[in-house]
Amino acid sequence: MPLPHALILKFPGTNCDAETARALKVAGFSAEVLPIALLEPGKLDTAQMILFAGGFSYGDYVMSGRIAQLITKHKLGDKLRQFVDKGGYAMGICNGFQILTQLDLLPRGSLIHNESGRFICRWAGLKKNASSPYLSELPDEFELPIAHAEGRFMGVGDDTANYVTNGRAALLYTEDVNGSSQRIAGLQDDTGRVFGLMPHPERFVNKVTHYDPDWNEAERGWGYYMFKSVREAIAV
């Protein structure tokens, strides 16, 4: 059986594409980094998953992910929606999560500047709040690195409380790191196939990149298990 194919979109300013491709390959995908200039609707037919990687698309000077969203919409129109409706998977990591949120593929809400007003690079504790094809092989609590200036998720009215109850908020921080409402770290759509998160699973594929050499006996890190989870879900 051929490996499931993941398409990683690369906008000017996307900068986590190489390590994301590497992580996907380790987890059993064939991965292709596609500069946005080469994107055309037909490309989606070749892939089982489309991935929006981390970085600063177009510099994120206007509003994080906004220009990337406009360009994607312009290039793909409804094709992305159809891709998901037909069973395709879409994942957004960090800036990719911001783009996915703008593309209306996830429950509504915004990722705004961290409460501290600063960029934050650290590791954060995470806990699963709902079942998700991206989280099936992970324990209830785990950790991943975060690195963002605009990772504070805000909803309208009772949105975020509802997301926690109805499981759209698939991933929560174990402690407040950026002021995110309800400590939301990751969201999914109602099919579970669209998933966005601020933490960086691609940076923790191997134990060697954990900050503590005594972390665990395992060879692989939690990020690997996130990609492996969705790999298994696609294979079924």
Partner: protein, 802 residues
């Protein structure tokens, strides 16, 4: 504008004084001697230079580009004895490196000839490192200055070989103390150290993070002398296939410019950085500061790396100081060729010819390619959304001919252009007298406890965490040893370790600077900076035989004999240690005129040396962090303590707080031969996999080292000073807080402790389960504090200010 705008400037009839006036009026930063040589050059050709030609010569001969002080003949007087230094660079840097290269063939693949020096990792892959300063721009516009400082050094790496991939950055700053009182700043328009610090950090953050290059190493020094002239060093490490290091421009190659457009930003940066700052700099020199756009650079970086992978690049270099004139000038320096300025895309239409040619607008690279590669290159430029243009062509004439809309605006013979007149300078240094050190008694444990707490809160020691967290140090997914680690990911390390893509090996990165010694002990500073940098790399697991270093100098006024004397002594010291350790210099840079003319007279920075280094860590099992791993381990020490507290953080703290007269005139001593022998024995233990953690002894001395190791949160530490090896009858203060170079404390499992002893190291204590840092002298307690109490003092020291 569709025609060339340039003019001829009559210089052949002028007197020497008039020539100097002309140089000043046009801000050429050329000396009387330089101007006379230029005059002779044009008299010989029987014509007057154009403004473009004068600007090109000024940029090419500027201190910034030509490093004329490091090439000068210096008459140096040390303690009354005269010596002649026939070029600092040649004598103490290049020759040392060449001798080391002869001893270690195959390690250094190139040094001093390219944008950065390369060392071999394995048969296919090399790494390179470059560090630059951006002091003057950061003083007058901290955010933009630091932003483009990092952007510039990243381009150096993109322009190293046929285009190296940047994989990690370092940043080192020297600022005035954050708590400086505004009324103590003696010149108007000088930005308060807090404004400088915040602007600089954010500038580095916004460039590095957007480029997706992890900023993994760094240091900050705070001292009053940096209030007027803050220092900003930015460095970047790159990786490249060995086959892509060699590059050459041949006749027939097209020169293409790629990346950003050319504008009026950054005019005369090279000459601006070669003079001192004054209050008017803050008003007049703003156009010398460039404006950064990291996404533009990210696009051109993606383009270059893709083009290099496809074999389309014959030669590449960045547009740094001097802009096109230095990039194209370098590429055409022997082969000669034509440049067509009208092809360069402009930000605004009203640029004069000289402005197009020397503008330092950011994010531009110049690449030599085969004409036949143009269609493929255009395709890649479209994919990565960057702009390229045909800037010129190499023709084999040896003449640099610059055209603008069909007119020749500059025609210079390259062989003459690169021969700047040699400078002759005078330097002097007097070694400070040894004397009686003030004795500090440690009879009560409270004295030791209080002094250690004060030290942990000193700006020199406190955690840089608020700043470190602003930088993405994990992007690219290869950061193995992070700047903060330990059980809770917040304990300090000796540097960082990065996996080298495409290999099974790792690169350690570290920096060392000790400017306090630059004031009184420059020779020791030179030696100790090299030692500390190399020692940190080895502590982290680098092979001592596979380390290379860079030297970056900053100083005040080189025309002041004593200031230049300090520089000469620093360089001499640095060379001794580098040669003893077999650590070649592969690149370096210098920055002069870091002094500020206040109404009360000039204020200079101390002679400041940054040594940054990279070393190969051969296996992931060799990576050693600085955080204690377990209770019940033994603690061993490499090296020995010696008397002398001069220049230490402890001495500075005591002097600042003392009510009575105190003095610490004596500096510590160490031997390079003994130190390096010990490092090699330590490395044998690393290779056996028995070193659990290790931390260098540097600022704050042994007590601070032990506390920092304890910040991992996994165990307490107990050390008995009576077991610590010493060179002389070392007093307690030196034992606890002295900064003798050459020392590493390491943790080793109890069952392997005999291996450390067999290797000649002394066990000085153990890790405990009581959570205390305990330092005794036999039975007498000198320090006894819960680590949980010490850590917040250290961890929050900067949070109030950043």
């Amino acid at each position: 504008m569709s025609k060339a705008v340039f003019r001829h400037i009559p210089i052949t009839p002028l007197s020497a004084d008039e020539l100097l006036d002309l140089s000043k009026k046009h801000k050429l930063s050329l000396s009387r001697e330089d101007m006379l040589v230029i005059q002779a050059m044009f008299k010989e050709e029987n014509r007057e230079p154009t403004d473009v030609e004068l600007e090109v010569i000024a940029q090419t001969w500027s201190e910034h580009c030509k490093h004329r002080i490091f090439g000068a003949k210096i008459e140096h007087t040390l303690d009354g004895k005269k010596e002649v230094v026939d070029g600092l660079f040649k004598t103490y840097i290049r020759n040392v490196t060449h001798r080391i290269m002869d001893k270690k063939p195959g390690f250094v693949l190139s040094a001093f000839v390219d944008n950065a020096g390369f060392v071999k990792v394995d048969d296919q892959t090399a790494i390179c490192l470059k560090a630059e300063t951006h002091n003057h721009p950061s003083a007058i516009e901290p955010y933009a200055g630091a932003n483009t400082g990092l952007g510039g050094v990243i381009r150096d790496i993109l322009g190293a070989g046929k285009g190296a991939k940047p994989i990690a950055s370092l940043d080192v700053f020297c600022f005035g103390p954050p708590d400086t009182r505004q009324e103590d700043i003696k010149a108007k328009d000088v930005i308060h150290p807090l404004g400088i610090m915040r602007g600089v950090v954010r500038g580095v953050r916004d460039y590095g993070n957007r480029m997706g290059i992890p900023t993994t190493s760094g240091a900050i020094q705070f001292d009053d002398t940096y209030i007027y002239n803050p220092l900003v060093f930015c460095g970047t490490m790159g990786v490249i296939p060995i086959k892509d290091i060699e590059k050459e421009v041949k006749p027939g190659h097209l020169l293409i410019a790629a990346g950003g457009r050319t504008g009026k930003d950054g005019l005369k940066g090279a000459t601006f950085s070669s003079v001192s700052l004054t209050t008017s700099s803050h008003e007049e020199d703003q156009t010398a500061v460039q404006i950064g756009n990291p996404i533009e650079e990210k696009k051109v970086a993606d383009f270059i790396l893709a083009a290099r992978a496809q074999g389309l690049i014959q030669f590449v270099t960045d547009c740094g100081a001097g802009g096109f004139s230095s990039a194209a000038g370098e590429m055409l320096s022997t082969v000669g060729g034509e440049v067509w300025l009208e092809n360069a895309p402009l930000k605004a239409p009203d640029l004069e010819s000289w402005q197009v040619f020397i503008s330092e607008s950011q994010e531009r690279m110049v690449i030599a390619v085969e004409e036949s590669a143009m269609p493929e290159l255009q395709k890649l430029a479209d994919i990565y959304e960057t702009e390229i243009c045909k800037l010129g062509k190499a023709d084999g004439t040896g003449i640099l001919k610059v055209m603008h809309h069909g007119e020749v605006v500059c025609r210079l013979d390259n062989s003459k252009l690169h021969e700047a007149p040699r400078r002759h300078m005078t330097a002097t240094w007097t070694t400070p007298k040894r004397g009686e050190d003030t004795y500090i008694p440690f009879e009560e444990v409270e004295v030791g406890n209080e002094l250690l707490k004060m030290l942990m809160a000193d700006f020199a020691i406190v955690s840089r965490e608020p700043i470190i967290r602003e930088y993405d140090h994990e992007v690219q997914g290869h950061t193995v040893l992070k700047p903060l680690a330990g059980a809770s990911g917040d304990a300090p390390q000796d540097g960082s370790v990065i996996r080298v893509e495409g290999t099974q090996q790792y690169a350690a990165l570290s920096v060392a600077l000790l400017p306090e010694w630059g004031k009184t002990q420059p020779h020791l500073m030179g030696r100790a900076c090299v030692d500390e940098c190399v020692r940190q790399l080895i502590a982290m697991g680098a092979n001592p035989e596979r380390i290379a270093i860079l030297d970056n100098f900053c100083m005040g006024n080189p025309d002041d004999h004593t200031e230049l004397g300090a520089l000469v002594e620093t360089v001499k010291g640095m060379a001794i240690t580098a040669e003893a350790y077999g650590a070649p210099f592969v690149s370096g840079k210098d920055s002069f005129y870091n002094y500020f003319k206040t109404d009360e007279g000039p204020i200079s920075i101390p002679c400041t040396l940054l040594v940054s280094g990279f070393g190969v860590v051969e296996k992931k099992e060799h990576v050693v962090g600085a955080s204690i791993r377990s209770t019940g381990s033994k603690l061993a020490i490499v090296g020995q303590a010696s008397s002398g507290l001069a220049g230490s953080v402890f001495a500075r703290m005591i002097v600042k707080n003392a009510r009575d007269e105190v003095a610490f005139p004596n500096a510590p001593e160490f031997s390079e031969a003994e130190a390096f022998d010990a490092y090699e024995r330590y490395y044998e233990l690393v290779k056996r996999g028995v070193v659990l953690s290790a931390h260098d002894v540097s600022e704050g001395g042994l007590a601070v080292t032990l506390a920092e190791m304890g910040f991992s949160g996994k165990a307490g530490l107990h050390v008995d000073l009576s077991l610590v090896p010493t060179l002389d009858n070392t007093p307690v203060a030196e034992h606890l807080f002295g900064e003798t170079p050459g020392r590493i404390v390491f943790e080793i499992d109890d069952k392997h402790a005999h291996l450390a002893e067999e290797a000649g190291f002394t066990i000085i204590g153990q890790t405990t389960d009581d959570g205390f840092l305990t330092i005794t002298n036999q039975r007498q307690q000198l320090v006894h504090l819960p680590i949980k109490q010490l850590k917040p003092i250290w961890q929050t020291g900067l949070t109030e200010y950043y």
